[in-house]
């Protein structure tokens, strides 16, 4: 009588626990140390450990086998979305290198035997009397990344506020960003 009732209650709680885990309300490894280790809790924690061990062995085995990987970047068709995304990253990296390199160089140029300041360096470049195309290209090399990264940055911030994820919007805003970037950098460099 009493044993049967207890068994019935335990099986109901096992079903409850299982349903809660499957619905994502409870993790199968409780973060709090269980104060009563009944079979249910011991079952849940060893199962998670075993799953982690199986996953680890799977990756190790695959790496050891030395099998070739399927092509990915080399075969995926380029699209506006992905191309603008990698350009955003590329311009960011390029601008970082320019700013970091420039500021560290200029700080070091201020000290030592041949110390110069920025105005002197600019005079020196002017004295080189470079053909007009060279300053224009150099300015474009800085301005276009800056403009593209800024306009695409606005697009990114719009995404962060949840707007503009529809396919049509992605492509429209993408083309607008590209047009603005090219359209603003050329006049700024003349």
């Amino acid at each position: 009588g009493a044993t049967l009732a207890r068994q019935h209650m335990l099986s109901r709680q096992h079903t409850l626990m299982r349903t809660l885990v499957r619905n994502g309300l409870v993790c199968s490894q409780p973060a709090v140390a269980p104060q009563s280790t009944n079979a249910l809790e011991r079952f849940a924690s060893t199962r998670a450990d075993k799953q982690a061990a199986v996953a680890r062995d799977f990756f190790e085995k695959n790496e050891k086998s030395g099998r070739p990987m399927s092509p990915h970047l080399t075969i995926y068709s380029p699209q506006l979305t992905s191309m603008l995304s990698i350009t955003h990253r590329g311009t960011g990296i390029a601008l970082t290198c320019a700013i970091y390199g420039g500021s560290i160089y200029l700080m070091s140029a201020h000290h030592g035997a041949n110390a110069t300041d920025f105005t002197t360096l600019v005079e020196g470049i002017k004295a080189m009397q470079l053909p007009a195309a060279v300053p224009f290209v150099a300015k474009m090399a800085v301005t276009f990344p800056m403009m593209f990264h800024s306009f695409n940055g606005v697009r990114h911030l719009a995404w962060d506020s949840g707007k503009g994820f529809e396919m049509k919007k992605l492509y429209q805003t993408g083309w607008v960003v590209l047009a603005l970037a090219i359209g603003t950098s050329a006049p700024l460099c003349i």
């Binding site: 335990l10 079903t15 104060q35 009563s36 500021s103 560290i104 201020h110 940055g153 962060d160």
Partner: protein
């Protein structure tokens, strides 16, 4: 089924108010407790990841205002100092994401992050030095643009 739809919904709304955990007590009874404080108390905090994400966007928005301001106002030590802080910060956080995406393995990851932190610190120092002891970034761009 043993668990009705309404009780799952009730439990789900409960779990939104922080983390609700269930456990089986000593007498075999089901107990419910919070593993983090519920939101109706005024003590809910963002995780470190959430704060980081927020500050990344704050810096980005600030820069979107600062750079045009520098272009319009012209050389100004206040704007230049703000640029000297925000530009290295924005670059540092951006490069951290790039490193996280492409660098794998614990030792190489630590080395890459250490190198980036050193470079960011030097760049920040360089920009502050440039603002205080030289013309500053805004004037520098103006001077560069005079090269024809």
């Amino acid at each position: 089924t043993m668990l009705s739809r309404s009780s799952i919904l009730a439990a789900r709304s409960l779990s939104k108010s922080g983390s609700v955990m269930f456990r089986v007590g000593a007498a075999g009874q089901l107990q419910c407790f919070h593993s983090s404080p519920p939101l109706n108390e005024k003590t809910s905090h963002d995780s470190a990841a959430t704060s980081h994400w927020k500050f990344e966007r704050v810096a980005s928005v600030a820069l979107l205002g600062l750079v045009p301001a520098a272009a319009i106002v012209g050389p100004n030590q206040g704007i230049d100092m703000a640029l000297s802080v925000l530009i290295p910060l924005h670059c540092h956080w951006g490069m951290q994401q790039v490193i996280m995406d492409y660098v794998h393995g614990k030792t190489t990851l630590t080395a890459a992050n250490a190198a980036l932190s050193l470079l960011s610190l030097l760049a920040f120092a360089g920009m502050v030095h440039f603002t205080l002891y030289d013309v500053g970034p805004t004037k520098a761009v103006q001077l560069l643009w005079t090269i024809k």
